[in-house]
């Protein structure tokens, strides 16, 4: 009930018409980012971050989160019409979305995708509304050991849930930690890994890494394919929307299951991409007619879109309540909070009520706005994709450079950004995951300081991480996640070449 009253208070914060304007601008920019190759939720938000410095934190976060929702919606458009996933989490949407478009049912596929995204997001926002205050209240009692345990769980989940080789996940993650350690050590004041240079004293900023890894890396990958956009075009009429909506309630089980998968993977950072694949796999397994999947089954669009949007939305829950982002985009927003002088974590819910509940209320409203905008403007976005890549690519690279420069007003950052772009390209080709690298770069200092604080308390005794039931169970869960690939392998062997491994889904 408390949460409900706070939510109404949050809607009061939204009453400022400027906030609504920022919301609409954010959603439109977000869809644009989601549609264009090379710009995604994470680096799009990172590039636009400097523009929000002059706004109030509430208006700024409303705009940035609206960009994120827009990007989540936008990914579906390119997947269905062009068979090009604008975002990694919409890869699973292409499996059935594009075949539907080829059969001339693009309007149905898009309506189903948007509606599912909307419902997935809505369910996740409801989860956030009622779960976030509970988690925040709980986290108020956390000590450094508990925080480190949660961070450990975050990183171990990547190993357990990741679709890549666990060794590559570990390598990418520790590379992020190592980059985060460069610079001034905040506890002892010693310089680490600067090798006598002044430039490295600042360390590596993760915003630069995000813009390079996801922006330039993606452009290089897209370029490699030569890129010829040959897609279907469509308009969505009211009649086709109605016809699709009549069919959708049949999939209510799929909706609930996909949203549950999405929320779970969003909160424990598996992220939207594995959530969409897992949900697609589950929908096919439970379907009465699994043979239809991949040939244009509408349920194959519903499941991944619901899960991706639910995961993308719920990734903000740990970011707000614990200060631990569940996805790279949430990490960028966390960076924004720090720049605006807000410390994410449980205290945010006590000290910055307006901010937190304004943001949560805006999630409801901006998803409604986003839903209406994408439904009505599909032809516009499809035509943007027809602008030749040789015009779009240099403009996106220019934007990446500006984004990297404005973080610290340092030219060197632009060079580092380009360097990260090449790393991103090579890592993507070799299937090294980028999300753990970015999150380790963001959380590195935080994880290290909570580790050191707990070591100070315990005089270097590791048993502090099993000193009470709470921290002990989180740590044990983390270790189970870390060794999950091994456990799954053994279970498979025991069952004699098992049929389904959840870790790989």
């Amino acid at each position: 009930m408390d949460a409900f009253l706070s939510l109404i208070h949050g809607f009061g914060v939204l009453a400022d018409p400027m906030n609504i304007v920022y919301m609409c601008v954010g959603v439109v920019l977000g869809v644009l980012i989601g549609v264009l190759p090379g710009l995604g939720g994470a680096n799009g938000v990172a590039i636009l971050l400097p523009l929000t410095f002059s706004m109030s934190p509430t208006a700024a976060i409303i705009m940035l989160s609206s960009i994120y929702w827009g990007a989540l919606f936008g990914g579906a458009i390119t997947s269905v019409l062009f068979n090009i996933p604008g975002e990694p989490w919409s890869v699973a949407t292409t499996f059935d979305g594009h075949p539907m478009a080829q059969q001339g049912k693009a309007d149905e596929a898009l309506t189903a995708a948007f509606t599912s995204s909307f419902i997935g997001a809505l369910l996740a926002v409801i989860v956030i509304t009622f779960l976030a205050p509970v988690v925040a209240g709980f986290a108020l009692r956390f000590g450094p050991a508990e925080f480190f345990a949660v961070q450990l769980l975050t990183f171990c989940s990547f190993v357990g849930m990741g679709r890549e080789s666990p060794f590559k996940v570990l390598a990418a993650m520790t590379l992020g930690f190592a980059l985060a350690a460069v610079g001034l050590d905040s506890v002892t004041g010693q310089l680490r890994m600067t090798f006598g240079t002044v430039e490295l004293m600042r360390g590596f900023d993760f915003l630069i890494a995000v813009i390079g890894l996801f922006g330039i890396g993606e452009i290089l990958l897209t370029m490699e394919e030569g890129l010829s956009f040959r897609g279907k075009s469509t308009t969505i009429t009211l009649r086709s929307v109605m016809n699709t909506w009549i069919r959708l309630p049949r999939f209510w089980v799929t909706y609930l299951r996909s949203a549950a998968v999405g929320c779970w993977l969003g909160i424990t950072p598996g992220g939207a991409t594995p959530a969409s694949f897992m949900s697609y796999g589950l929908a096919r397994r439970f379907s009465k007619d699994p043979g239809n999947f991949g040939k244009g089954e509408i349920e194959g669009v519903v499941a991944p879109e619901t899960a991706a949007h639910a995961a993308g939305t719920s990734a903000l829950l740990p970011m707000l309540t614990l200060g631990i982002p569940g996805s790279p985009t949430a990490a960028v927003m966390l960076g924004g909070l720090l720049i605006w002088g807000l410390q994410p974590g449980p205290m945010l819910f006590i000290e910055q009520k307006d901010f937190v509940w304004g943001l949560i209320a805006s999630m409801y409203l901006s998803n409604v706005i986003g839903f209406l905008i994408v439904l009505t403007t599909v032809p516009l976005w499809a035509s943007i994709l027809r602008i030749p890549f040789s015009i779009i690519a240099p403009v996106i690279i220019v934007l990446c450079c500006i984004g990297a420069y404005t973080v610290h007003n340092a030219f060197l950052d632009v060079v580092i950004m380009l360097f990260f772009g090449v790393i991103g390209y090579v890592f993507k080709k070799l299937h090294y995951p980028l999300a753990p690298l970015v999150l380790a770069l963001v959380l590195g200092d935080m994880a290290e300081s909570s580790f050191r604080q707990s070591m100070l308390i315990s005089q270097g005794d590791m048993s502090i991480f099993w000193s009470n039931w709470l921290v002990g169970s989180i740590c044990s869960l983390a270790l189970a996640m870390l060794f999950w690939p091994l456990i799954a392998l053994m279970l498979d062997k025991l069952r004699g070449g098992g049929r389904f491994s959840p870790g790989g889904a």
């Binding site: 523009l51 520790t174 690519a393 030219f411 090579v426 100070l456 270097g460």
Partner: protein, 187 residues
């Protein structure tokens, strides 16, 4: 005139760029996935070694008041070393190693065609500021890769930096790198 200058400069930056994907052998094959896996895993091991070396330098042990500055990074380096060593080993000894092409020659050429002008763009940006450099870069990119005539490329290339200038310098008051031309105009 400006475009000529850029085009002359581009080939110079190509060799340095091709460094990471060295000997281009016959039939469009560049390097195999296996080689690239080994190179990347090897580089990561090198990074791990540097991290561990530097952590030992600042002290990776236990001081009287708690862990030393290098304690945490040292173990991070150790995990990185171990994980990359496994990836290295898997690719070196496995019979199922991926011998397919890391990137085909035409694709690599396309990637280099984006990367080389971008490197040039950064160099030019350093001297003349971001707006002029962006105009040159967009124009060059459109003409070289998009095969547009200068009549079509120039308006786009001039309009976009102007919009950016208005957005950053005037509307949001965020200063971006500027050069002599902007200074002459009083910014």
């Amino acid at each position: 005139m400006f475009m000529e200058r850029e085009q002359n400069l581009v080939p110079e930056s190509l060799p340095g760029d091709g460094e990471k994907t060295t000997p281009v052998s016959d039939a469009g094959l560049t390097v195999t996935m296996k080689t690239m896996e080994l190179v990347v895993a090897g580089l990561l091991m090198l990074v791990a070694a540097i991290v561990m070396y530097d952590s030992v330098r600042v002290g990776a042990g236990w001081a009287f008041d708690g862990p030393q500055a290098g304690y945490f990074p040292f173990f991070i380096g150790l995990i990185l070393l171990a994980a990359s060593a496994v990836t290295f080993g898997i690719n070196l000894f496995s019979r199922t190693a991926d011998l397919s092409n890391f990137v085909t020659k035409p694709a690599l050429l396309l990637v280099a065609k984006v990367l080389a002008p971008t490197v040039m763009y950064l160099i030019v940006m350093y001297y003349v500021g971001i707006y002029i450099a962006s105009a040159l870069y967009i124009c060059f990119f459109m003409m070289w890769l998009g095969k547009y005539s200068i009549r079509k490329a120039a308006p786009v290339a001039i309009a976009i930096p102007l919009v950016l200038f208005w957005l950053f310098e005037i509307a949001f008051l965020i200063p971006l790198p500027k050069g002599p031309l902007e200074a002459a105009l009083g910014f």
